[in-house]
Amino acid sequence: MASERAAFLTQMVEVLTSTVSFGERLNNMVHLLARNLTVDLALYFGLDKARETLLLNVSSQGPVPPHMRLEFPLGQGLVGETASTRKFTIVHRRQPGVSAANAPLEKLHPAYQTLAAFPVADDNFLYGVLILVDREERSLTPTERQGVQLTCLMLAAALRQAIVQEEAKKRIAELSVLFEVGKALSSTVELDELLERIVSTTAKVITARGASLHIIDGATGEPRVSSRYGQIPPECPALPPIPPGAGSGEPPYFEKGSTDAAGHTHYCLAVPLTFKGQLTGTLGVYDKFNPNGEYLPFDPENRQLLLTMAGVIVNAIENALTYQQVEDLAEKNERMVRSLTALQEISQVMLTSVQEERLQEIILQGLTQEHGLGFDRAVVLMVDEATQTLRGAKAACRSPANRNLPNLKALQVPPPEMIPVSDWEIPIRVDQGPLALAVLRKSSYHHHQTAKEPGLPPALEGKFAAQEFFVVPLVVKDHATGVILVDNQASGRPLEPERLHALQMFTTQAALVLENAHLYSTIETNNRELLLIRERMLESDRLAALSSLASGMAHEIRNPLVSIGGFARRIAKLVEPNSPLRGYVEVIQEEVTRLEKLLREILDFTGENLSYYGDHELAKLIEDTLILVQRDLDAYKIKVAREFALLPRLHCDDRQMKQVFYNLFQNAIQAMAHGGTLTIRTYPVERSDGLYAAASISDTGSGIPMEVLHNIFNPFFSTKDYGTGLGLAIAQRIISRHYGQIEVNNEIGKGVTFIVTLPVAKYCLVKDAGQAAVPASVFKAP
């Protein structure tokens, strides 16, 4: 008996430890049990995963056809009760309630009488229930019972092992999938490539025909990125965002099957991608297939796998998105640095000049050169304050970088001239488009073809065309002095907003430099004027010094001259008329007279004489003076032609004025030593500052030689053998004291005309007005 038991157990151990698959081993074991215990049937009911129902898995009769699949809920029937109590139970059909509770078993064995149930369990886990069925009403010997119980224990161990093995296998599969995914994720940081790999790997791992991935911005609802792989059946719905808690269990998922016209059922499965930020996404797979190409529904394992993958790829996608942002920023930064470097270099070059035109060239070079801002075309327009228009100053087009020159030098090469812009003239009004508006509003404009506002003003029609352009005002101290217009018309490159920022920075600098140049040129002009004034002042200083020297000397000489001359006259009276001494004395007399005359002239010039201002008729002054030269006019046979207009009286010093005419007449007479006509005209002259009286004195002499013409008003300049050379200098000085002018018209061979212009009394300032107030009783003219 004992040897029988040992043989049975040996057989059982052999079966359970054989290398065939677990299902096979279970099968063999059930057969072995039925045969050894000589029962009709041995059945194994396995507890399902939900641990609620026991399903018939194995029967000693062979494979269980689908219609024979029996199941007992936990606690129902012998199977369910045994699973609940985990105790060996044997019942007979005739016992009350047995037949009803175990009715389903009649399908397998309609005439059963005995049912023996053994729990298949280890210390803490129930795997299933083993049932022995027989047509005889019988019992089991304790040996038989022990044998079966031992077998059940072994079976439980085997089941446990199988489950662990299964789980390990699944883990390995999962790990290898994750490894695949990881490999795919770590191979690149390029977002697009990464997404492609994610969807293709997902499809392959799940053995699906297609996969897709969508990421949307949770805050805005805008799609961020999406990627697809393989075939996505049109029957499958667009993947919705999956809310938390969707699907029957945790975590959420979305699953749907739909049948196409050909009768194929297409399945899709999707799980959410949960990011830390506001992004949400969906990872989906479509049409799982088996090696035979048949479509299959997705199972929970697929779902689990997809969820695991989603968890892993979220990080990678997040990284890639961050990386992309960082890269975008880096690129932006690099562009910024490039612009700043260019700007810095251009500013450096701009500081090399203070000439407005040169600066405009440098600015244009900076705008159009590749190393600079690299626009295709650039135009500088300046505001003309007087006419309230914008005028084209200079323009240039894009020039290839000069590789032979360092950047700083290249910027200094004048840019190639573009179209002429000097005839551009745009009224600064609100209806004249962005160019005028940039000046009026002191703001920049980015004009596109699609913009609703008007573009270039009508003034530029046929001169300049651009679909897209930037206009930036040149603003200094809140005042727009001009604008810069740039476009990329030739190359068709779009004008990115950052370029406008760079242009604005550049323009600020340019405006300052241009303003500096403008100020500099103003200063330069003022400086030149100051220099001129200084020179004139120095000149008058020199004259003053010369005057005081001459005056001092003249006075010192006058006393001895008076003595010499006076005594010479006395001697002359004493000398006999035919004495040779007479001639000598006369020479002394004449020379002294000449010297005295020279002294008078010098002292007149140096301003010794007083002014006697009064209202005088110009014609009368001229006539009075003519009397003084009448003797000479007669002597040289000079005719006098008069043409006097009726003029208001002049406020002037009559003696000085007579001196002027006297000097002019003397010159005229000397120019006509062989006779001629002295023509004197007076006439009114109207000027913006008032009414003037003019007198012209013309001779018919040979004219003043060109080489000396510029010297005639200089003191001490004389072409004559006699005379001091002060005549015209004195005349000019007197005239200018009267706020008048003296001009000369010289015609070689025909004669000279001097024109004296004097302001008429009422209309002019009187320099020495105080003199007129002197009481006549005290003052007696010599």
């Binding site: 006058r558 004489n609 003052f779 007696k780």
Partner: protein, 117 residues
């Protein structure tokens, strides 16, 4: 005989004027500066004074002022190498202002005009 004082620091001028005026029939006194001129005015009942302006010790302008104080009726002719003293109000008290010239005809004519009976 009319009495004329010639005051001038230049001896040659005094001599020239004296000779010429004596010839015209005047009695001529001389002084080398303003102070001397005033002494003569005090002592002699003069009929006319010819005064130089630039003189040492006391110049002609001061002398003119004092002479006119003492004898407002006494004609004084300023005879000077300088024209610009005409602008000095003090000289306006004189009866005549003549710029010196080697031709004494003007001077003699003026003197004659004042001493005409």
């Amino acid at each position: 005989m009319k009495k004329i004082l010639v005051a001038d620091d230049e001896m040659s001028i005094r001599l020239l004027y004296s000779e010429e005026l004596k010839e015209e029939g005047y009695e001529v006194y001389q002084a080398a500066n303003g102070r001397e001129a005033l002494e003569v005015v005090d002592k002699i009942p003069l009929d006319l004074v010819i005064l130089d302006i630039k003189m040492p010790e006391m110049d002609g302008i001061e002398a003119l002022r004092q002479i006119k104080e003492k004898r407002p009726d006494l004609p004084v002719i300023l005879s000077t190498a300088y024209g610009e003293y005409k602008q000095d109000f003090a000289t306006w008290a004189s009866d005549e202002y003549l710029v010196k010239s080697s031709d004494l005809e003007d001077l003699k004519a003026v003197v004659k005009r004042y001493l005409k009976e």
